[in-house]
């Protein structure tokens, strides 16, 4: 990492407004020493991909609570690849049922942290997986 702080985008995809979890994770990541950008609500896949590119982040993290994550991630995957961001770490957290994990991993969202995950596990995963 050449000593540069790891930079993370936390985004709230789609129309759902339950952002308590996303904001809590933003604080935990900032406290752990990462540089964190929070997108705010109602992000489209285009908005997430643009922010990731413009901010030159190392990690793209989504917080999904209302079940629309798979169609969103499918679109986002194409855009991130198009923008040359396939080598970044893609993560997702929130209300993510176990039955969706395999599909999400297949789409490239390797770090999956369902509700009730611990801050330390998220932090350690990022440290271990950002090249």
């Amino acid at each position: 990492m050449n000593g540069r702080r790891i930079k993370i985008l936390i985004a709230k995809p789609g129309l759902d407004g339950h952002d308590q979890g996303a904001k809590v994770v933003v604080r935990a990541l900032a406290d752990a020493g990462f540089e964190v950008i929070y997108s705010g609500l109602r992000q489209t896949p285009e908005m997430v991909a643009n922010a990731a590119l413009e901010e030159n982040v190392d990690v793209i993290g989504l917080s999904s609570m209302a079940g629309s994550h798979i169609p969103f991630c499918r679109k986002l995957k194409a855009l991130l690849e198009q923008e040359g961001l396939a080598d970044k770490l893609w993560m997702i957290g929130g209300n993510i049922p176990a039955q969706d994990h395999e599909e999400l991993r297949r789409l490239g969202f390797k770090g999956i942290f369902p509700s009730s995950s611990k801050f330390t596990d998220i932090v350690n995963y990022i440290r271990a997986n950002v090249a």
């Binding site: 789609g14 129309l15 759902d16 407004g17 339950h18 952002d19 308590q20 904001k23 809590v24 933003v26 604080r27 935990a28 900032a30 929070y38 705010g40 609500l41 109602r42 489209t44 209302a66 079940g67 629309s68 169609p71 969103f72 209300n95 049922p97 176990a98 039955q99 369902p114 509700s115 009730s116 611990k118 801050f119 330390t120």
Partner: protein
């Protein structure tokens, strides 16, 4: 040294230190007459009716709605057949945020977390065959509430009900949407203006309808403690009252139709004291700060029972037990209406089976457990009375703090409340992770398990497509010149800063869609820009 030196200290979530024993000395200073009084009279600490559940049990109103209006109508009828006495309607996110089902922003969201509604036609289907005099309907709608209230009134009118006598509730508390839940559309000021429009319109034309249910609930879910939950909700209530009284309507013309929605998870006694204290504080605020003379204006009516933040992903069956305690707390607190979170709600939309368990939980309290026998059964307890007085003092202090920071509207617009409660949510989560705040199944008494005991509610693509098809049919069959005229009137009235409800009534009756009406308002008001502040 005395025994008490050795025991651990206990502080409740609101920050009050709890003693190991309360005695008559703790309540000596409370002037029973003034602070506690009798149920049905000022300051309503013990309840808002003299006989409470002895006369009539609480209304049972489980939150329900998914897919298209026909699916939802079926679930409504199932719940009514099983003894539910009110409806609590869940809308999908596009409806809540003012997008039609065929809007690109709605893709993948149609009917997902609630019922999809585009036009009056959908309400006609959703409430078909349900007697709106017997079953009161609560609409969980906020950003697009003015439109959906107009739609509900128009639907009832069309079916021959006199809206002057129609009962029902809309959530319509936009200030809390900016703090948590997030289904805002317009900027803060026009959003409050729209809430004022609905209150004013209902006071004049549908005086039995409750146009607003002020929600401490979601502020608590976002990280507020129980005392702040009440104080912030009251500060929001005051903001709506001020919005309407500045138009020249006296507070006594509408305050009796304001209702509240509160959270219930946490320490049993803290919650009971919170509600008893809250009733007396709201009565005092409306009387002394808002100038109400009519005792009916001072009464705090509420729905309670939900406590999503208390439920866990781990060992979800334990949520059935938690739900039963939440119902007990609500009953001991003198709620008017109860809506329990179902045990699978931390994962998905409740199944018929889990919704029925919640309904039966409340029915067990009514039928078997004696919760309706006597009013305010914990009244007079040294502990509960003492805690009630302390909670009230604390809530008042939180309300003063809000005033000192420029008032609730300003704090919301600047993102100050959002930042404050989110900071507290983070602290709480750290306490859960380090085990100092105990959650069974989460940080103690864990078992290794797989997610297996919950049935997921599937997303139905075909259903979404059918909804879009039905709405396109409505657009073809309606009088489009009439729709265009009605939409222009909405825009003109919004621009002229007059009450937009008559124009919305005209538009919904012409089968204008939620998206079309929202766009007419956005053309004048613009869209909210979320302040990102930590």
């Amino acid at each position: 040294m005395s025994e008490t030196k050795k025991i651990r200290s206990v502080v409740n979530e609101s920050g009050i230190e709890i003693k190991p024993l309360y005695t008559a000395d703790d309540v000596k200073s409370l002037q029973a007459e003034e602070m506690i009084g009798l149920p049905g009279g000022y300051p309503y600490t013990r309840g808002i009716h003299p006989l409470m559940y002895r006369k009539q049990p609480w209304t049972m109103r489980q939150y329900a709605g998914f897919g298209n209006p026909a699916d939802t109508n079926k679930r409504f009828k199932y719940l009514i057949e099983n003894g539910q006495t009110g409806l609590n309607v869940a809308f999908d996110l596009p409806t809540q945020i003012g997008f039609d089902s065929d809007d690109p922003m709605a893709e993948g969201e149609v009917g997902r977390v609630g019922m999809a509604v585009d036009s009056l036609k959908d309400f006609e289907i959703a409430f078909g065959g349900i007697d709106l005099d017997k079953i009161t309907v609560s609409l969980t709608i906020n950003g697009s509430a003015a439109i959906l209230i107009a739609m509900y009134l128009a639907m009832a009118e069309k079916r021959g009900y006199d809206i002057a006598k129609l009962r029902g509730t809309a959530q319509n508390d936009i200030l809390k949407e900016f703090i948590g839940r997030g289904t805002w559309i317009f900027p803060v000021q026009p959003s409050i203006k729209l809430v004022g429009d609905t209150i004013e319109y209902c006071a004049k034309h549908a005086p039995k309808y409750s146009p607003v249910s002020i929600c401490g609930y979601h502020i608590r879910e976002s990280g507020a403690n129980p005392a702040q939950e009440m104080a912030y909700a009251f500060a929001i209530g005051k903001a709506y009252i001020e919005e309407v009284t500045k138009r020249g309507l006296p507070v006594d013309a509408f305050a009796n139709r304001l209702s509240f929605n509160f959270n219930i998870f946490g320490n049993i006694f803290e919650q009971v004291a919170k509600f008893r204290a809250g009733r007396s504080l709201w009565a005092k605020v409306v009387k002394e700060q808002c100038g109400a003379k009519d005792p009916d204006s001072m009464v705090l009516r509420m729905i309670a029972g939900g406590g999503g933040g208390g439920l866990t992903f781990e060992q979800p069956e334990l949520n059935i037990v938690r739900g039963a305690y939440y119902a007990l707390i609500s009953a001991l607190s003198g709620t008017q209406t109860m809506a329990l979170c179902s045990y699978d709600e931390a994962y998905t939309i409740p199944t018929e089976y889990s919704a029925r368990i919640s309904l039966r939980t409340m029915q067990i309290l009514i039928e078997e457990m004696g919760l309706c026998d006597t009013v305010d059964p914990l009244g007079g307890s040294y502990y509960v009375e003492s805690l009630t007085a302390q909670m009230r003092e604390l809530m008042e202090k939180h309300m003063q703090d809000v005033e000192a920071e420029g008032g609730m509207v300003r704090m919301v617009a600047e993102g100050a409340v959002q930042a404050k409660v989110s900071r507290q949510a983070y602290e709480m989560q750290k306490n859960v992770e380090n085990g100092s705040f105990r959650k069974v199944g989460v940080n103690c008494h864990r078992v290794e398990e797989e997610q297996k005991s919950v049935e997921f509610h599937p997303y139905d693509e075909a259903n979404a497509a059918a909804q879009i098809g039905a709405t396109n049919e409505v657009r073809k069959s309606r009088d489009n010149a009439k729709v265009a005229a009605a939409l222009s009137r909405i825009e003109a009235d919004a621009k002229a800063d007059v009450n937009v409800m008559p124009a919305l009534m005209e538009a919904v009756k012409a089968y204008a869609t939620v998206g079309e009406m929202t766009r007419a308002l956005v053309a004048v008001y613009g869209r909210y820009q979320e302040p990102i502040r930590f």
